[in-house]
Amino acid sequence: MSENDETRSTNKENNNLEESSGQSQLGSNETEVDVDSVEVEKGSGFLRLPIARIKKIMKADPSLGIASQDSVFLIAKATELFIESLVVESYQNMTASKKKTISKRDFDSCVESIDSLAFLDGAIYE
């Protein structure tokens, strides 16, 4: 609608999660390209979590012998996807209210309501 958005978002396709009709709070230094760059990163295998640290966590399992490099990569990448989906789920729980901050309670209710997150029940202590 507003031509401003069109000139600003040359890279962005219709991937917007939020309907920002002139309400874009540029508090952080994020640009609108970010949504796309996440997808580009997924496709190119770009990894943010450090593989060495992931491997350390894996080693907490005593039955781990040797792990192939590819397997460690996959677990690291899967964990990134996991964080993303956890955040998105928590956020979606929240859109009914007018809140702008995801709280621990949003996280907790997310864990309680989603089957695949049952493994987290009781695992997070504060």
């Binding site: 350390k56 792990a67 995801i102």
Partner: protein
């Protein structure tokens, strides 16, 4: 194995970055929620690993492989990750292969340089080389 809390945690800055990139602008995450998400991620690593190891053991193998991980993810109801992960893995393998090839090419070039400089050094007496005037290098 001594469990030191820092070792089993993922770096805060990276987790925060991933969280931020998953959200639209203007949405914040409380410190407590962020911490919980980071811990959940660590638990996820462990959970996926142990499930994958069960697959490995079932196949009577000793090495945890990529296939084991993908199967495990299906078992723990994260099948939606499998396709994007397979793509990422392809790119990762390609970039690893490129790195290997670059290194091999580098090593080869270095070796060739060394051979060049050693045959040049025939003019000056070098203690390293034989003094038989052996200019030919046997190429295998």
């Amino acid at each position: 194995m001594v469990e030191r809390p820092e070792d089993l945690n993922l770096p805060n800055a990276v987790v925060t970055r991933i969280i931020k990139d998953s959200l639209p602008e203007g949405i914040a995450v409380s410190k407590e929620a962020r911490s919980a998400i980071a811990k959940a991620a660590s638990v996820f690593v462990l959970y996926t690993t142990s499930t994958a190891l069960l697959v490995t053991q079932k196949n009577k193998k000793k090495t945890l492989t990529a296939q084991d991980v993908l199967l495990a993810l299906k078992e723990i109801e994260f099948e939606k990750f499998v396709e994007p992960l397979e793509e990422s893995l392809e790119s990762y393998k390609k970039s690893q292969q490129n790195k290997k090839e670059q290194k091999a090419a580098k090593d080869k070039a270095k070796k060739a340089d060394e051979e060049k400089s050693s045959s040049k050094a025939q003019e000056e007496p070098m203690e390293v080389q034989t003094t038989d005037g052996d200019k030919e290098n046997t190429d295998d």
